[in-house]
């Protein structure tokens, strides 16, 4: 049983006038590479960064990040 944190950052960036990873990175105070790693699910951000991302998109946290339990 695996647990993963999924996110919708890529779609949200697209919906927000095709915001680039660099623009999002500048707004939340991390590097572009970190935004890329978060988007790909390779790095789980701290609560603070997660809240900052949600704030940029004007969304509640649970609409940006979802905690999923994969069975099998």
């Amino acid at each position: 049983m695996g647990k993963t944190i999924q996110n919708t950052i890529r779609r949200l960036r697209f919906d927000h006038r095709e915001m680039t990873q660099q623009e999002l990175a500048d707004k939340i105070g991390v590097t572009r590479q970190t935004v890329n790693a978060i988007e790909l699910g390779k790095y789980s951000p701290s609560l603070e960064v997660a809240f900052r991302i949600a704030e940029v998109f004007g969304m509640p946290l649970e609409q940006v990040f979802q905690y999923e339990v994969k069975r099998g």
């Binding site: 991390v30 590097t31 590479q33 970190t34 390779k42 790095y43 701290s46």
Partner: protein, 139 residues
């Protein structure tokens, strides 16, 4: 490639080159008994070359991407640094104990100090090597 990854590559390669030259000199002296000039001057020359090489190359990549160079480390980069430093610490501890053990092999004080220096070099290579691997894996 990010600025921090480039920086890790520079440090890794500089230490690898300078450490390799140092090791070649140790082998030359210990196994073949060939000594060229004063060992302290040679060692200080290597340290100077390492410092100058690192500064010049870091300035070069900072000029290439000034915005990234000015940006402080973010949480992921700090985590990568911590993980790499922890791994290097174990290497350093193992090297320290092995260096102490060489006393029982009747190594001279100078030889023990060379073993400790070798441990530091290997630990540094481990640190920057681990940083590069972690940057690549999370890229």
């Amino acid at each position: 490639m990010s600025f921090r990854e480039k920086s890790a590559w520079i440090s890794f390669l500089c230490i690898l080159v300078v450490g390799g030259l140092w090791l070649a000199d140790v082998i030359r002296v210990e196994f073949y008994g060939v000594r060229h000039g004063n060992p302290l001057v040679y060692f200080l020359g290597l340290v100077t070359a390492l410092v100058v090489g690192e500064i010049v190359l870091h300035v070069a990549i900072a000029l290439q991407s000034p915005h990234e160079a000015r940006t402080p480390e973010d949480e992921r980069e700090k985590l990568i640094d911590l993980k790499a430093t922890r791994l290097a610490f174990y290497v350093m501890i193992a090297g320290g104990w092995l260096s102490i053990a060489t006393i029982h092999l009747r190594f001279s004080g100078f030889d023990v100090s060379q073993c400790i220096l070798g441990s530091i070099i290997i630990a540094e290579l481990t640190k920057f090597g681990a940083q590069i691997a972690l940057f690549r894996r999370d890229a």
